[in-house]
Point group: C2
Chain length 87, copies 2
């Protein structure tokens, strides 16, 4: 039987990497107009609560996924706010 | 002590509702040009594996979140493919 954490880690890599093109595009073009700040703020809060949840369950793949996702989402929010100030 | 599943359900509502404006916008405008099919396909696969993971752990809030997210992402993918065919 395979360890369920392996499934979790594959899931983590897929769901976190789905955010990367968006972050990379904003970074490269320095244009965050198409990104919704309210959507990412709600997402940030949601992922933060999932992080609390996963730390409580002590599940390494979930903690990993939520930490990486929070870093990516924070970067997108940071770039969005920065581009708003510049415009 | 509060039940960790309550935290999970609040997290579930936040992370799933973050996808709704995107789905609703595509539905309303019938325009899915701005959406990346590859990103949503990777996300779909990732969420599917999280669903397997959450069923294994028998965690109601995680199962709920992943089922709802899969429905929303499938709808976005469906609208994207439909709008591609029409263009």
């Amino acid at each position: 039987m395979i360890d369920i954490e392996i499934i979790g880690f594959i899931a983590a890599i897929l769901t976190t990497s789905a955010y990367l093109p968006q972050a990379f595009k904003i970074w490269r073009t320095k244009n965050a107009e198409s990104v919704s700040l309210s959507m990412y703020s709600v997402m940030f809060l949601g992922i933060f609560l999932w992080l609390v949840y996963s730390i409580y369950l002590k599940r390494p793949s979930m903690i990993f996924a939520n930490v990486i996702t929070i870093i990516i989402i924070s970067t997108i929010i940071f770039l969005k706010i920065k581009s708003k100030k510049n415009s």
